[in-house]
């Protein structure tokens, strides 16, 4: 079996094992979930040995006929971008299992259900990045919402049912718009003589300007809701407030990347003319996201909402990089997707532990933790620093690349975007000051520091943040061929540097 398909299916093996495991022995269930996600991680790492770096196009491809009438195939394959995002997924899932060891205990349903949902979600998340058939991508794009719906609604806190419904309705609405566009591009391929859903073949279609615009919007709005970009973001804070930390990590760290990934893979590659038409407007939206997300983050009193709004700001950067249509911009944005995955994971992990210990989500309730729980506080501090893109931590590299790439085409946008960095410093440092420093809040005196399990969970994330900060070259090298391929599909080249003008 193809190694990629194997990686997609392995979590499902874990699901089968969980299904027959007795529901009372929760420790066993957690170990099965952990084991299955670790095996999946190993399988995905093995892909690195088969993958030829520095080569354009899809690799490890495999295709089986699925639905003949419409020439729909189970077609998978990975390029550099898909590879790094799949690795991000397979690394984060075991961390979520270890880090959120106890988070399923207080849910509406059994621990067993929680881990079945997590593993089903992992299969979908790997498959969605691997799909090279637009129909297959769409199916997974929509189907993965269902486990998340039940994860938020069944195991979250607060008004979880409403948050889950809001999440699902927003996403399904976007998905339906995308469905219309998917049907549109398929019918065009039928009329041009070759019915296909293959993303490479579809990129060769000749589509009129006007049609491109509409189809582009169908895809883009779906991805903008997913990403989430201003003004389609309003579901995110509600979801983040209600979801468990583990669910939040998977939703913000991986699931939302499907939006920005889709923009590169489908919007840019399939509709080059429309991309150029809409790029300036999208850049404006991205800038609004950056500034607006940051300002709202500064004002948040709830820790989870705060992290959610910082993410909106960061997704603004990613979208900015993509639609600047320069090689640094797209490479930077792709790298940003990975880095944001890790930095959000760190914030939600440590934030989740703080909330679990203190039984409150209010930032003000954590005051003075630095002295009581130094390891937890330092971990949170590092996560925060990575969110504000401190040089030496991974986000810095990607944010710098994005701004550099934007500057060569849209200098004004880059200047406004830079404001986002300053605001980021503000919201992170204010958060750290309120939550960790200052006078000790009543009730915090006996807060225990991180235990061994938690240290094991956070360590790989911090290592990733530091390593990708100091030595991002392998990741950039993996992503670069994809970037040049996409730029050639859009028929743009980097603008000549302004220096010397």
């Amino acid at each position: 079996m193809n190694l990629l398909t194997l990686t997609i299916l392995l979590p499902l093996v874990g699901v089968l094992a969980l299904a027959i495991a007795p529901r009372e022995n929760t420790k066993n269930i957690k170990l099965i979930a952990l084991g299955s996600s670790v095996i999946t991680l190993i399988s995905s790492l093995l892909m690195l040995t088969k993958y030829k770096f520095g080569v354009q196009g899809f690799q490890l491809v495999s295709s089986h006929s699925w639905f003949k009438v419409f020439n729909i195939n189970y077609a998978v394959g990975i390029d550099g971008l898909a590879l790094v995002l799949i690795l991000l997924t397979t690394v984060l899932v075991p961390i979520v299992v270890v880090g959120g060891w106890n988070e399923a205990e207080n849910g509406r349903w059994s621990v067993k259900t929680f881990y079945i949902l997590i593993l089903v979600l992992e299969t979908f998340m790997v498959a969605v990045f691997a799909a090279t058939d637009v129909f297959l991508f769409y199916v997974i794009f929509e189907a993965m919402l269902v486990p998340v719906y039940f994860l938020i609604g069944g195991f979250g806190r607060g008004d979880r049912g409403a948050a889950a419904l809001k999440f699902l309705l927003y996403s399904l609405f976007g998905g339906l718009l995308m469905l219309a566009a998917v049907i549109g591009i398929f019918v065009i391929s039928v009329h041009q003589g070759h019915a296909s859903f293959d993303v490479t073949q579809l990129s060769h279609l000749k589509i009129s300007h006007n049609t491109q615009d509409w189809l582009f919007l169908g895809f883009f709005i779906a991805f903008a809701i997913k990403a989430p970009l201003f003004p389609f973001h309003t579901w995110l804070p509600a979801a983040a407030r209600s979801a468990t930390p583990g669910t939040s990590i998977l939703v913000l760290g991986v699931l939302d990347k499907v939006g920005t990934y889709g923009m590169i893979r489908f919007c840019l590659a399939l509709f080059p003319e429309a991309t150029k038409t809409f790029a300036p407007y999208i850049i404006v939206l991205a800038l609004i996201s950056i500034i607006y997300g940051a300002f709202l983050a500064i004002g948040q009193k709830d820790l989870n909402s705060l992290i959610a709004f910082t993410s909106i700001s960061h997704f603004g950067f990613i979208v900015l990089g993509i639609f600047a249509l320069t090689s640094q911009g797209i490479t930077g944005a792709s790298l940003y997707m990975v880095n944001h995955g890790f930095s959000t994971a760190a914030l939600f992990l440590v934030g989740g532990w703080m909330i679990e210990r203190r039984n409150s989500t209010q930032v003000a309730d954590f005051g003075g933790l630095q002295r009581i729980t130094p390891v937890m506080a330092w971990s949170f501090f590092i996560a925060g620093l990575s969110a504000l893109a401190l040089p030496g931590l991974s986000s810095f590299v990607s944010e710098f690349l994005v701004l550099l790439g934007t500057f060569t085409r849209y200098p004004a946008a880059a200047v406004v975007g830079t404001l986002g960095i300053i605001l980021a410093a503000l919201y992170v440092l204010i958060l750290v000051q309120r939550a960790l420093h200052g006078p000790l809040q009543e009730g915090n005196e006996d807060t225990p520091d991180l235990n061994l399990r938690e240290k094991i969970a956070i360590a790989p994330v911090i290592v990733a943040l530091v390593v990708l900060g100091f030595y991002p070259k392998p990741a950039i090298h993996t992503i670069n061929p994809m970037t040049s391929q996409v730029l050639s599909q859009v028929h743009v080249s980097d603008p000549t540097p302004l220096a010397g003008k």
Binding site: W66, V69, Y138, A143, G153, L169
Partner: protein, 504 residues
Amino acid sequence: MLSTPALNYNLLAPILIVLGGALLGVLVEGFVARAYRARLQIIIALLTVATAFGWVISIRAAVSQTAAIDSVSTDAAGTFLQGTILVLAFVALLFFTQNDHFAPQASALPGSSEEKEATLSGVQMTEIYPLVLFAISGMLLFPVAHDLITLFVALEVLSIPLYIITGLARRRRLLSQEAALKYFLLGAYSSAFFLFGGAFLYGFSGSLSLGTIRTAAQTPGANHIFLFLGLIFVSVGLLFKVGAVPFHSWTPDVYQGAPTPVTGFMAACTKVAAFGAMFRIFVVAFGAIQSDWRPVFVAIATVTMAGGAIAAISQRDVKRTLAYSSITHAGFLLSGVIALSQIGLTSMLFYLVAYGFATIGAFGIVTLVRDSTGEVNDLNRWAGLAKKSPLVATAFSLFLLSFGGVPLTAGFIAKFSIFTAAYDSGNIAIVVVGVLSSAIALFFYLRVILIMFFKEPTDETVTVAVPSFMVSAGIGICFIATLVLGVYPDLVFNLLRLPTLLVP
């Protein structure tokens, strides 16, 4: 010397078998002791349907033939529709076997001492089984009928038994009888419209055969006024049967009032038969003048999709919600008819299968959710159902997700292919409105899931009856079909990959 025409009994056999089964059922009513009737009737009904289905399979190879002097045409689409109706009817009949859905004595006045007595005796009317078989025989004839008289006869044979069994609910008798009366009156009017239209078409073409009407319509210089009048009136009759806006107003009342197993049967099988007939009439008789009627039908389809979805939002009764959702689905199915292409037909047929299984399954589950006084249809009282019975709640959610067209369910493939057919035929407006109505429809499907899974059970929350083997089998079949057709739709589409599906 007068020679008798060949009737080709072989091709008519499925219909005749079901009619025979129905007549046998009538005899059983007359000659078998009450104690044995119910069991015997169930066995006869199920065996009849199964035998007829076997026969349909055997005549699949004899496609594109006509029988009974060209008044019936058995082609791939026709046999597929007959097979679908029989399978769905078989599953629907499994839900009839619970012994407390039907009135003990239909003639007793609601609330009278006579009725109390009949109820206390613990019996229920078993005439329902032959009536259902009569309806099925009409449904089998409707989509293969090739002339207007046969169409009308089939329409009446399928409708009249349905009017009766709608009024046979054991509980809430008045509501049920009101529904039956409403259904009967409106149905009679619509049949009259259909007949009236048929008369105009006969006046126009001098023939009742669909093929001759087409030839006449293609003749240059013909005065089309009677053709259009005929088209309009025939369409009214058909649109009433499928429950399209603005001929839908009977749907919620009838769905709500009828005994729930009957509602499931009616909602699924009538739609299959009516859409099959509709496609045949419009392709064969009116295909040549499609540019004239298409805009009107595009309008009807869009209004039906949107209207059903919007009206469903405010419903609190699960049967009414499902009724409005079936109106929305009628709109989606109409877009397959409008496409008038091979792909339109194929998608419509798949849609009918997907919709049929989900509908029967969903109504089957409604029969299980009860309190001490019978079925509970108030959605607010379904709160926390998942805690009481996770399996039932999961199955119901799957059917709802399939209605909503969420991927990996049959409903998604159905919706995708029918929208593709609409887009392919150039009706992009339908795709856009269809997508928007799907979004609205999703809202109320998801709300039901939310109520079942995420609301805390209240004191008023209902219990779930322990389903009998038959009922579990019925729900199981619907569940598996919905899932399998969502993952592997070629199972059905492979049956339809033929050069000609429909005899012109």
